[in-house]
Amino acid sequence: MSAPIIEVAGLRKRYGTSEVVCGVDFTVEASECFGLLGPNGAGKTTTIRMITCFSPMTAGRLRVFGLPVEPVNYRAIKARLGLAPQEENLDPDLSVEMNLLVYASYFGIARAEARARVRELLAFAALTEKATARIGTLSGGMKRRLVLARALVNRPELLVLDEPTTGLDPQARHLVWERLRELKRSGVAMLLTTHYMEEAAQLCDRLVVMDHGRIVTEGAPAALIERHVGREVIEVATGDDPARRARVLELVRPHGGRVEALADAVVIHTNGAVDVRGMLAALAGEELVHRRATLEDVFLTLTGRELRE
């Protein structure tokens, strides 16, 4: 087993008096896709900024490729890292192809080698036909794929993706996922933040859920679902009718599980010793959905349902 790609221990970041990352620990192993999940303001982007040499940590231990993340190592780390930031920062005055060629030059890659690499990456990102197009003419999905291609120009050993598909339509999102899975198979380690639970479930080998600058849970997606929610979820619609909701609550309570009463529904997580059959029998005649539990259930269970803005 080779050394971890990222080692984070007791990592903290304070801006003035507010601490946005309050003691975070995790490691990302070689060839692993690791997810950082959490609501807005959980500290995901700040953690990523510290790992990618954009923000000096306040305290803790942080190593990337075995190198301590401090100014003396910034260059060496960034030479082996690919970063696809949340906000698109392509060069608007350059063509698609020039964006990649210019970026390759920052890594000291010779022109001939860069040209071959760019051809490869344009094909990978399904942008070959757009090679000479201006950035302004690209769709959101194309821009995102170009940002991804740009992050790969130096053949990074670690790819850091900050919300790689936010704002994309389903088709564009699936294309990005497909490419990321392809990269994963080729052995690149990945660190990604997202608040699409499906994305995390699709891509991540392991993940942490962060909230208020702390890690609230860590594990493989399936294990997290099992641990926090159970395999199945039953949602009973109660409409805007408190009496009906009270009745449903009474029906389900004896059968165990974690019961959550929302404004217009009752949600039952079937973790622990739950008699699912008995519960379904008791609920006969109610308007309900019986489905597999997802990471989204884990996320909402751990970080609550209040809006984060």
């Binding site: 030479a79 060069d91 890594f107 000291g108 790969l152 392809e182």
Partner: protein, 265 residues
């Protein structure tokens, strides 16, 4: 299809000049897309000033010996270098620093703040070179240049460009919005333009104002350019060059520090 990533041979990371050159080339490549409109602005203004003020106003000015156009040409050349670099390093660099996030994109690579700032300053200075050479060509055609020392003026224009490029980046690193540059251009650049010996010899200023003028980089720049055009070159010019070099060092160090603080936080 192999986009795969293997720990291939490590490339040596780029040094200060190699890194700065990559940033410079990025700026040049993106400028190429709209160079026409940019050239009209950069070359038109100083040349029109030289013609309108030099020959129009010049008829009414008696400097005893030299024509006003001859007096004015070096000042226009130096201030063209100042303006070109100042605009690029404020509005241009600020756009790359904030709106376009070009700096963030570059800093995700082995290029560091030092190379980034140096590259943008050199790019600003390249625009000075362009403007100044245009003025030089016009001035030469108009018979206002009297010495082969004028051949060093492109290098002098670059030097002036680096001074104002570095100063512009200091200002850009502190700016919160484009409006901020109005203060800089009105209170600093325009003051220099009017009181650094471009339009009249600073000897005609009161002593205190002359002292202030010698604290301004454009005064030294105009002095050097004027001496080269007239062929009155002496070792004292090295003092003026030295002052500009010191100013470059200070402004560059400050720009590196403040751009760094702004982007790495």
């Amino acid at each position: 299809m192999s986009v795969a990533t293997h720990p291939t041979a490590r490339r040596a990371t780029l040094g200060l000049f190699a890194g700065a050159f990559r940033v410079w080339r990025r700026d040049m490549e993106s400028w190429r897309k709209y160079y026409r409109s940019s050239l009209v602005g950069a070359l038109g203004e100083p040349i029109l000033s030289l013609i309108a003020i030099g020959y129009g106003l010049g008829k009414f000015v008696d400097l005893g010996g030299v024509s006003y156009a001859e007096f004015l040409a070096p000042g226009i050349l130096a201030s063209a270098a100042m303006n070109a670099a100042s605009f690029e390093a404020t509005f241009g660099s600020f756009t790359r620093m904030t709106e376009q996030k070009t700096y963030d994109a570059i800093l995700a690579t082995p290029i560091g703040i030092r190379e980034l700032v140096a590259g943008d300053v050199l790019w600003a200075a390249s625009k000075s070179l362009l403007s100044s050479v245009a003025v030089l060509v016009v001035a030469t055609c108009a018979g206002l240049v009297h010495s082969a020392w004028a051949l060093v003026l492109p290098a002098v224009a670059l030097l002036i460009g680096v001074v104002f490029g570095a100063m512009g980046l200091v200002v850009a690193s502190r700016a919160q919005a484009y409006d901020f540059f109005t203060y800089y251009f009105t209170l600093v650049i325009t003051v220099m333009y009017l009181f650094s010996g471009v339009f009249f010899p600073i000897e005609s200023l009161p002593a205190w104002a002359r002292a202030v003028a010698w604290g301004m980089p454009l005064t030294h720049a105009v002095t050097i350019v004027r001496a080269c055009m007239a062929g009155r070159v002496g070792p004292v010019l090295l003092v003026h060059v030295g002052v500009l070099v010191v100013m470059i060092g200070l402004a560059y160090a400050m720009a590196v520090r403040w751009v760094g603080r702004r982007l790495i936080a």
